[in-house]
Symmetry: C2
Subunit: 114 residues, 2 copies
């Protein structure tokens, strides 16, 4: 799924991170399409800053938002709510969702130091 | 690398998350061994709560700690400091490190609802 930049380009903290760690069930029919659609939708949400995703066995998605209001608005998006319900019913054996306030950040890019 | 449970079992918030997102350079010699050693070491640090890791292209490691003091102690571990320096020199083309305070968390396990 395409989250944009593999390492999200985010502003100076503070901002928020939604950390979603998951194990898929054997029944992933429709999962890839739904995930792509969710990234497409969330990109249009006010206050969305970017996201990162990797899966090998466990999947980790970290989505960044300007504030709690932006997270709440995304949570309430009807299509997102529908997909979350399908996730619990079909795609996930387990997940943990954590809402965290990013307080400090530090980046490194090799091109900057060569 | 073995982070223990694929989805970290963490206490009730608040606690802290260190979100480390990275792109590897072509020269990964020694990287796997060093990463394994870091997970082995961090497990012995007071206030360490668990970690999650996935890589496909981009790598995401989220390590959880009780408080900022626990993060600072891990940062100051001499072997960890040495490995970080080698990471910037050899293994990483880019990374972003974010320190975040987990404020809310919600989990789902299929076995609980069947």
């Amino acid at each position: 799924m395409d989250t944009g930049d593999p390492i999200a380009v985010t502003p100076e903290p503070p901002y928020y991170a939604v950390i979603f760690t998951s194990l898929l069930s054997p029944d992933t029919e429709g999962y890839g399409e739904a995930a792509d659609r969710m990234f497409e939708l969330v990109k249009g949400m006010p206050g969305y800053l970017g996201a990162e995703h990797a899966r090998d066995g466990v999947g980790i998605t970290v989505a960044y938002f300007r504030d709690e209001e932006a997270i709440a608005a995304w949570r309430e998006h009807p299509e997102h709510a529908e997909v979350r319900a399908r996730g619990r019913k079909q795609w996930y054996d387990a997940f943990e969702l954590r809402i965290a306030r990013v307080e400090r950040a530090y980046g490194f890019r090799r091109s900057e130091v060569d």
